[in-house]
Amino acid sequence: MSPLDTPEPLVQVADLSVTFPVGQGAAVRAVDGLSFTMPPGGALGIVGESGSGKSTVAYGLLGLHRGTGAEVTGAVRVAGRDVLAAGDAELRALRGPVAAMVFQDPLSSLDPYAAIGDQIAEVYRVHRRDASRRAARARAVEVLDRVGIPDAARRARARPHEFSGGMRQRALIAMALACEPRLLVADEPTTALDVTVQAQILGLLRELRAETGMGLLLVTHDLGVAAGNVDELLVMKEGREVEHGPAREVLDAPREDYTRALLAAVPRIDVRRAAGDTATAAGEPLLEATGLRREFGRGKRAVTAVDEVSLTIRPGETVGVVGESGSGKTTLGRMLVRLLEPSGGVLRYRGRDIGGLRERELRGFRGEAQMVFQDPVSSLNPRRSIGESIADPLRTAGELTGSEIEERVRRLLHRVGLDPDAYHRYPHEFSGGQRQRVGIARALAPEPKLIVCDEPVSALDVTTQAQVVELLGDVQRESGIALVFIAHDLAVVRQVSDRVVVMRDGRIVEEGPADAVYDAPRHPYTRGLLAAAPSLAPAEAAA
């Protein structure tokens, strides 16, 4: 291309470095000498594992680092404006009409106290001072309608908590649209959403791009999401560019090892579980749920989270539970280990009814069933060393001496791939993946017969996710523990499960051997789920 027919790039980043001071003179260089450009109307995907600096770059485009203490060097130009040099007013004028941002977390990105329509109208009026209040509100309804909110005029008056996650994300996109930006920066816009909703949102973004010709900068850690939605891919690691090129090229023929490793770690929905891993699901049932129910709230507000669920778990087998957000997976899992008391139905552990027992009567059961929690942060007490946390159930049981316990904990730490000397360290000194390993070690400590894993990997990036899944498989192979594996990611579930249960609205809609469910889904809902799952599609075939 000659300089003549190159229009001025929409985004121009040259040698961008961002450094965060973290106290005591220390600093984290989140972005390190990054350069790229993006033509008007283009679509660039930035991928990389967690902490590689993706969001930092995205914020840099809107000058959002200003006033936070971060040190930004290099050059950032958006639509010809120098973001780093711009004055405050100029910067405010840039935010919205030129570049608009859609944040990852729709739950918290809207003001919980104000009506959604008003929030959009407010943003609109910031840039269209001539617009009347009424006109702004009309515009809000219009964009809400555009992003597919049904009955937009009425729903504009709703507050965020009355919207579902997907609707909130649409509302955020509508807010961006209201300003007719030339560049839409989307920072992991779908990580918080179900696969089906994710597919809808990605479709919406594609449509809007085609319609308005705006540029899209999509930040994601999910290569599958990036695959179908961008022209170019920028792979980042430790704040630097690893690889940059047309999307298909990067996915099909990665030049760098790092990119290859990243791609390899992505779970594939059509990959069966390795044959040797399949357990013989025979023998007496370990845990047997019949017609299990659970309601929350009372009277008119009552919600039935789990409704007439029957499930049998045999020793040593893995049961996968999938379903979209709010389908009752967590509630079911918590009932199985009796963290929650069922409102109805029967729950038998080795033939004994444990459904209605009180906490004190559960003593005997407590060590037998454990849980690995979704959130590696809140599942460890930040004020206690991880060793203590793991040792706790052993101490409660009171069978071992102090030194025996410590010895045992060290072995467990080693078993889950951590340094035994980490005993005295605190949770915040570990990465998410490491913390999840600690959680697994803690679950293993009392030598349980059953572990319920509630989305154990959904907070982790693909590489770490792969490691943890592998660890769980190893543990099961060795000790023959029964696993209940809850996840919304269909591919991960397939990798580990012998049998799969699909949940919707608190009920089980389909149940069967994993391969049968994935290869020949009977229920339309299951088919819908499978269809919506993002994949590296054509690239994969070529690999």
């Binding site: 935010r95 919205g96 608009a100 944040f103 919980p112 407010e122 943003v123 910031v126």
Partner: protein, 329 residues
């Protein structure tokens, strides 16, 4: 909603019931014989006996308490010597010391204390929340420092000193304001406000530091939330962010604290009332406590208790209005 209010009302009754029991218990053990006090400094035993009978102080405590409950439910007749005085339900009884109806004493004084407390509340909220907001916006600046010192000086100074200083300055030295003397709101709203201005200010100065600090910290907390980031990312000016989005999020803890303070102000503003010569409930209560005037003390404490409970209910309702995600349960 109606069910909620009903439940809260039942709770309130329980609280008030417990309060009256506590007061009866305290009085049973407190020093001083009301009969002797009512009888005068040099009574003979026979007279004291007469007065004791007159006040039914001879009955066992539980009987007295039962009569009190009866009076509340159905009213009571009292002899004035020449005639009969009917005290309508809810009847708190007659003062031991001067035979006034407790209900009358309270209804005369409640407006005074309510004026004092509510007005002071408005002022301390303005002062406290205002300076909290300012200092959250101008962190580290001179404005913040000056405001912090000012409000802190308020906290550190007992009301009897602040009050006297204010009186000295504005009434005696500068002569801008008359020495306060309560004028009913219904009589002359303007005079009412002028006369209460100093007591309001004194209380507000004392309370506002707490509010300033609370507002500032919950403001900073809210400003760190993600939705604020959204508005920043759309170029909304900081002022509207603070005024429209952050303030609302910062209010709930302020509301909760206000309820707590407002409620307890009804019984504990005695120093302010005395200093500024406001014939309010606090003064009445202290006087009654000093003269072992049980019916008056019970009456005032119940009104105070009701204020606390009502303030809490209102705060919870406001909370729910401010944050619609909160369900009233």
């Amino acid at each position: 909603m109606r069910g909620y209010l009903l439940r809260r009302a039942i709770g309130a009754v329980i609280v008030l019931f417990a309060l009256s029991l506590v007061i009866y218990a305290l009085f049973y053990v407190a020093p001083g014989d009301p009969a002797r006090l009512a009888c005068g400094p040099r009574c003979n035993p026979e007279q004291i006996r007469q007065v004791r009978e007159q006040l039914s102080l001879g009955d066992p405590v539980y009987v007295q308490y039962w009569h009190f409950l009866q009076g509340l439910a159905a009213g009571h007749d009292y002899s004035t010597g020449t005639g009969v005085l009917h005290c309508d339900a809810p009847c708190f009884g007659l003062s031991y010391q001067n035979d006034q109806q407790v209900t009358d004493l309270i209804t005369q004084r409640l407006p005074v204390t309510a004026s004092l407390a509510l007005g002071a509340m408005v002022l301390w909220l303005l002062l406290g929340v205002g300076s909290g907001l300012l200092s959250a916006l101008r962190r580290g600046g001179t404005t913040e420092r000056v405001l912090t010192w000012l409000t802190l000086a308020g906290t550190a100074t007992p009301v009897f000193i602040i009050g006297l200083l204010l009186l000295m300055l504005f009434c005696a030295y500068l002569g801008w304001l008359p020495f306060p003397s309560y004028v009913a709101l219904t009589e002359d709203p303007e005079q009412w406000a002028w006369n209460l201005l100093l007591p309001w200010t004194a209380l507000a100065l004392i309370e506002s530091a707490k509010y300033a600090r609370l507002t500032r910290s919950s403001m900073l907390e809210t400003l760190a939330e993600d939705h604020i980031r959204t508005f920043r990312a759309y170029g909304v000016a900081e002022r509207s962010i603070v005024g429209r989005h952050a303030l609302r999020g910062a209010l709930p803890p302020v509301i909760a604290l206000t309820a707590l303070d407002l409620g307890s102000m009804f019984g504990n503003a005695v120093l302010t009332e005395t200093l500024f010569g406001l014939p309010g409930l606090g003064q009445l209560l202290v006087h009654a406590t000093r003269t072992v005037d049980l019916p008056v003390v019970v009456g005032v404490v119940l009104v105070t208790g009701a204020a606390v409970v009502i303030a809490n209910i209102v705060a919870d309702l406001l909370y729910a209005v401010a944050d619609r995600r909160v369900a009233l349960a």
